[in-house]
């Protein structure tokens, strides 16, 4: 093996420590929302008197929390379902909220094509998505409260319809070359845009035509019976790491540095856990009366939820206290 081969192997090993892209994407979405809020606040302050600007900022804060998302609201748990999307009861003509529920509820329902299984999914206050996969075939459905940005591929866009709504069929060629990707984009309701992406036009059309704005439950989502007062969920999803992750912080737009992380995992809880991105590990204590185990520094808690599932709750910063972390893991359940 040459020096160059060794170097490539070393770099590949380092690259294996890459963070979960889904978590990165979720945090990026939150960061963009925060940056927008800051810009809006700055614009307001620059054009009106200070007193008026203060009032406007107050209104913005109230608007961000929304009428049903007070900071002290206890969030409901949701039950996971099997491979296909399972619709919940919804009133006819139900409008999709622009800020989805913080529980693990997708704000839409779809029918997975034969042979496809859920791969990644995530629900955040600003976007919800699901990836379906069958071998190398993949289809992605993304719901956002704003229109997807218009890029440099407009020459290949064609008007079409999806379930009676005006839609756009786009054929996208990656800048770096490679296979053409097909996208169907439409607005099924005010403040709601859906984008279905696939390498196959038939697949994209099949999934797009099946989508309704009825909330549904992802599989293997885990559940949290209630949250401590003052905390909210900012991300709930399953990424490439192969486990469901919930990020819980002081508000629904809190970034990861402010959040505790709750992971739902399959199997039996181990006797030690990884405590850092550098692979450092720490032993877990024996279970206490509630079945909770902890690392020596108390920053990670582990609990066996049932015979086949366990959960790990990890502190981020002081925004979530040790007592709140304990409440979170005690409220966690596999279903």
């Amino acid at each position: 093996m040459t020096d160059h081969d060794l170097l490539r192997a070393a770099l590949t090993e380092r690259a294996s420590r890459a963070p979960d892209p889904e978590v990165v994407l979720a945090n990026t979405t939150i960061g963009i929302r925060r940056a927008r809020s800051r810009r809006r606040a700055t614009a307001v302050a620059g054009t009106v008197a200070i007193a008026t600007a203060a009032i406007a900022a107050g209104v913005m804060v109230l608007d961000r929390q929304g009428p049903t998302q007070s900071a002290h609201q206890v969030q409901p748990a949701t039950a996971p379902t099997q491979q296909s999307s399972t619709a919940r009861q919804a009133s006819p003509g139900q409008q999709l909220p622009t800020k989805p529920s913080v529980s693990a509820t997708l704000p839409f329902t779809f029918t997975a094509p034969a042979g496809f299984r859920w791969d990644n999914w995530s629900v955040t206050p600003s976007a919800s998505m699901v990836d379906l996969r069958n071998g190398t075939s993949q289809v992605n459905a993304l719901l956002t409260p704003t229109a997807p940005r218009q890029g440099g591929h407009q020459g290949n866009a064609q008007p079409t319809t999806v379930r009676g709504s005006q839609a756009e069929l786009r054929q996208l060629t990656p800048a770096s070359g490679g296979p053409v990707t097909v996208q169907l984009v439409w607005q099924p309701a005010p403040g709601t845009w859906i984008t279905v992406t696939s390498s196959s036009a038939e697949l994209a059309r099949s999934v797009a035509d099946s989508i309704t704005l009825t909330p549904s439950d992802p599989p293997e989502a885990g559940a949290v019976a209630s949250l401590p007062a003052g905390l909210a969920v900012s991300y709930w999803g399953r990424g490439n790491a192969g486990m469901t992750t919930v990020m819980i912080g002081p508000d629904e737009f809190a970034d990861k540095t402010m959040c505790a992380t709750l992971n739902f995992r399959s199997g039996t809880a181990p006797n030690e856990v990884t405590t850092s991105g550098q692979g450092q590990r720490a032993p877990l204590s024996a279970p206490d009366a509630d079945g909770v185990r902890h690392t020596p520094d108390g920053r990670i808690l582990v609990r066996q939820l049932d015979q086949n599932h366990w959960a790990q709750a990890s502190l981020g910063t002081s925004a979530v206290t040790a007592a709140q972390l304990r409440d979170i893991i005690l409220a966690a359940s596999a279903h």
Binding site: M1, D3, H4, L6, L7, R8, A9, A10, L11, T12, E13, R14, A15, S16, R17, A18, P19, P21, V23, V24, L25, N27, T28, G31, I32, A35, N140, L142, T144, P148, R149, Q150, G151, G152, H153, L172, P174, A175, S176, T181, Q183, T195, T197, N240, K256, S276, G277, Q278
Partner: protein, 166 residues
């Protein structure tokens, strides 16, 4: 290319690049998130570039360099690091050379621009022109970074072999 489309296509590669560059999951995550958040409001302009993927790598590399500058101003070596420095573990030299993790440690001793050039060349297989675009320098400078970086790695590895066998 739309922002969302770019993220879907490029994010996996971008986080792996950041992890190869930093060797640190948390830092890689922070750098990529910062880059994507800062790129979003400029996306109409970024998307018109020939290679938005290289532009995002440039943002990650610049973020790494500025992060290192901030970190150096307040970093203190941990007691564990001091013990390691005073009492280096002498392992079998052949085994150490073959250990990819050890080679990564050697890599961390290079200058940050040399590290970035080495990662872009040997992890991402980028050519001189692409690396020059990311680092914001000329192609001759890229060749210099790569050549000197490799030489430094070989010298450090040789010194450690000599130390381990003495």
């Amino acid at each position: 290319m739309e922002y969302e489309e770019f993220c879907r296509e490029q994010l996996a590669g971008l986080v792996r690049f950041a992890a190869a560059l930093t060797g640190d999951t948390e830092l890689a995550q922070d750098l990529v998130q910062d880059a994507l958040i800062r790129a979003y409001p400029r996306w109409p302009k970024v998307s018109r570039l020939d290679r938005p993927d290289l532009y995002l790598r440039k943002m990650v590399v610049n973020g790494h360099l500025s992060w290192l500058r901030r970190w150096y101003q307040r970093s203190v070596r941990s007691s564990h690091d001091l013990i390691e420095a005073a009492h280096p573990v002498a392992a079998d030299p052949a085994a150490r050379i073959a250990d990819a993790g050890h080679l990564a440690e050697l890599l961390s001793g290079l200058s940050r621009r040399q590290q970035a050039a080495i990662v872009l060349r040997y992890f991402e297989d980028r050519d001189d022109a692409e690396i020059a675009q990311v680092l914001g320098c000329g192609q001759a400078t890229v060749r210099s970074h790569v050549s000197r970086g490799l030489s430094a790695l070989r010298i450090r590895a040789k010194a450690e072999r000599a130390e381990a066998s003495s």
